[in-house]
């Protein structure tokens, strides 16, 4: 049906309903964003700013710490998001089988991690992954490793730990989205496919995946944004340093350090934050491009 044209009174009512949100968003989101965009062209220390044109952007290209943070953030994104999405999908499909026993238990268990507080899980992980901790002990008893891994001291393993921790926390969250979407799919589609002799893997590949595409895209974009803004985990695992030797420093942590730890340089830190905006924009666009239905394009 054609979109109903509202009469004047209804139109005003519509504005009244959204007005509080719009005012707050304008004040605490849009205004700061515009300000930070302007700030990103300013140079100087503290509040002593002056217009610097593209000076900050030039500084980015010569700043080894920034490049390091950029690389780290990208590494986290490349490994963490796909692993988590695939795991979440697998669990969701497995749990969607109504003949499965203990479904409720499995679902709650896998979803439980996202109900913890950030600080709780980073502390728990830190203590579990201590050099003589329970994880290293278990791995050595299973003869998977010969000597304990320095999870927090080794640049490589520190990254692995961060990726494992985020995956642990957010897989169940994403799984719930897929489960909800799967339950909306008409079961008779699968029954028809079985009668047509379509094997299980093909039902997954050619029925489930295409029908879940919108949700997968949604969760991927949300996860991309989350990973590119990664701050909490890194800050807590490394006591805010991004160590060892900047190996887990992310862009958000660098922005925080530039603003509140070092001699504050608001202009430059604003520039770094806009790097994240641009990255999220590009990656989201690419994801939409990949997910776009080839037949309709």
């Amino acid at each position: 049906m054609a979109q109903a044209r509202l009469d004047r009174r209804e139109n005003i009512t519509g504005w009244v309903f959204i007005a509080p949100a719009l005012i707050l968003l304008g004040l605490f989101m849009i205004y700061p964003i515009v300000w930070s965009l302007w700030m990103s062209f300013q140079v100087g220390k503290g509040m002593n700013l002056s217009f610097g044109g593209f000076a900050n952007i030039l500084r980015l290209t010569k700043d080894p710490v920034f490049l390091r943070a950029l690389g780290n953030t990208f590494t986290f994104f490349i490994f963490q998001v796909p692993i988590m999405i695939v795991l979440a999908l697998l669990f969701a499909v497995a749990l969607n089988d109504s003949t499965l026993k203990f479904r409720g238990f499995f679902r709650t268990a896998i979803f439980l991690p996202c109900a913890t507080s950030l600080i709780a899980y980073s502390t728990v992980f830190k203590s579990m992954f201590a050099i003589d901790g329970v994880v290293n002990q278990t791995l050595m008893q299973l003869h998977l490793i010969g000597e304990p891994i320095s999870w927090l001291g080794d640049p490589f393993w520190a990254k692995v730990l961060i990726i494992m921790a985020i995956t642990w926390r957010w897989t169940g969250y994403n799984m719930i989205f897929y489960l909800a979407a799967l339950q909306n799919i008409d079961r008779s589609i699968y029954e028809a496919a079985r009668i047509d002799g379509v094997p299980a893997w093909a039902r997954f590949r050619y029925l489930t995946i295409p029908m879940l595409k919108p949700v997968i895209l949604f969760t991927t974009v949300i996860s991309t944004i989350g990973t590119l803004q990664l701050f909490d985990e890194v800050a807590n695992f490394t006591a805010g340093t991004g160590g060892p030797s900047d190996s887990t420093l992310t862009l958000s942590l660098y922005i925080y350090n530039l603003t509140f730890k070092f001699m504050p340089s608001f202009g430059y830190s604003a520039t770094v934050s806009w790097v994240i905006v641009v990255l999220v924009g590009i990656l989201s666009f690419l994801q939409f491009l990949i997910a776009r239905d080839r037949r309709t394009s």
């Binding site: 054609a2 979109q3 109903a4 044209r5």
Partner: protein, 359 residues
């Protein structure tokens, strides 16, 4: 109880006009049914009367008062929705008394009115249940009860039976007819089902593309349709339409030939039309007679015969034209290949090429 008047009522969405000037007067206590194919504007028209859609142009009067800009709750109307629209978090009792609560009616008064309505609809034992604990038919009765409680001048029904199964639909149809007798109110009822329209209405309003095609009593529409659209829409099975050409005009009427049936001729007591015009001859399924009993005989090839016991429908064709014939005694015709039927000129209709009735 109140009369209702629509004067050149129009509705446009941007450039799209969906109600194109409706004039209609509804008498007090009348049961009026708006009927038409989907998209004809019947529901929009009802929602405009209810105040749920803005009236772009024209006037709406209820009980002699202009109601265009009056709030829905103050028009003296009550509405029963297709999906019943019961508030799922409230009991039947709360659902029925909800409007009165917001009209500032005293609690005891609300209770009394709800009880009265519940008695009329035999809802007493259900009053403390939630909608999800009721069957489809019970929900429908609660929706009607909610409307009754408000003691409206005009009841509006928006396809109220379309979510019920066939058996329940017949039952509720009878219940609504009984209710109208008992309450003596004006009812406007929207449906796409012409059987509902025929059985319930005092007056049927046939709508198409936002304009009224014909207004009249059910049997008047059936016996004397104003045009080919109404003739085809009212009646089941649908009226048969045969291609025809006017060949002669005499004092006795207009003579037409049927090219798909070997040019057989038939003279109708009609003055309209001129020689050479391409016209349409309309014949209802039950008006085909036995061979030789009418004014012209047609021989058709049988496709299928459906025997329902008391009657049979024979689907037949000739010259690419498919026809339905109703027969009361015709079980043997299943075995034969052809059927010969007659048309009586007094029981046939003539329409011009634009669908208007020739009289």
């Amino acid at each position: 109880m109140s009369s209702l008047k629509l004067t050149d009522v129009r509705k446009t969405y941007g450039k799209l006009e969906v109600i194109k000037g409706v004039n209609l007067e509804i008498k007090s206590k009348e049961f009026v049914v708006f009927v038409g194919p989907s998209g004809c504007g019947k529901s929009t028209l009802l929602r405009m009367i209810a105040g749920l859609e803005h009236i772009t142009a024209g006037d709406l009067e209820i009980g002699g008062q202009r109601m265009n800009d009056v709030d829905p709750s103050k028009r003296g109307i009550a509405m029963v929705f297709q999906s019943y629209a019961l508030y799922p978090h409230m009991t039947v009792r709360e659902n029925m008394g909800f409007a009165l609560r917001f009209a500032g009616v005293a609690k005891e008064q609300i209770a009394r009115q709800v009880d009265d309505a519940a008695r009329i609809l035999a809802l007493g034992p259900l009053l403390d249940r939630l909608p999800k604990q009721l069957s489809g038919g019970q929900r429908q009765r609660v929706a009607i009860g909610r409307a009754i409680v408000r003691n409206p001048q005009v009841f509006l029904f928006d396809e109220p039976l379309s979510n019920l199964d066939a058996e329940l639909r017949v039952h509720m149809r009878i219940e609504i007819a009984r209710l109208h007798k008992e309450l003596q109110t004006t009812i406007i009822y929207v449906t796409h089902d012409q059987v509902e329209a025929m059985t319930l209405a005092d007056t049927i309003v046939v709508l198409r593309d936002g304009i009224i095609e014909q207004v009249g009593a059910p049997l008047d529409l059936y016996d004397d349709p104003a045009n080919q659209f109404v003739a085809g829409f009212i009646g089941s099975p649908q009226m048969n339409f045969l291609a025809a050409v006017v060949t002669e005009k005499t004092a006795a009427g207009t003579t037409v030939a049927l090219p798909n049936h070997g040019g057989v001729r038939l003279t109708l007591p009609v003055t309209g039309g001129s020689v050479g015009d391409k016209v349409v001859l309309g014949v209802r399924a039950e008006h085909f007679g036995l061979p030789g009993a009418g004014d012209a005989d047609l021989t058709l090839n049988i496709d299928v015969a459906e025997h329902l016991g008391s009657t049979s429908y024979v689907y037949a064709n000739a010259g690419g034209e498919a026809l339905v014939i109703e027969r009361e005694e015709s079980r043997h015709e299943a075995s034969s290949e052809t059927i010969t039927v007659s048309i009586s000129s007094g029981k046939a209709y003539l329409f011009d090429s634009k669908g208007a009735r020739l009289r």
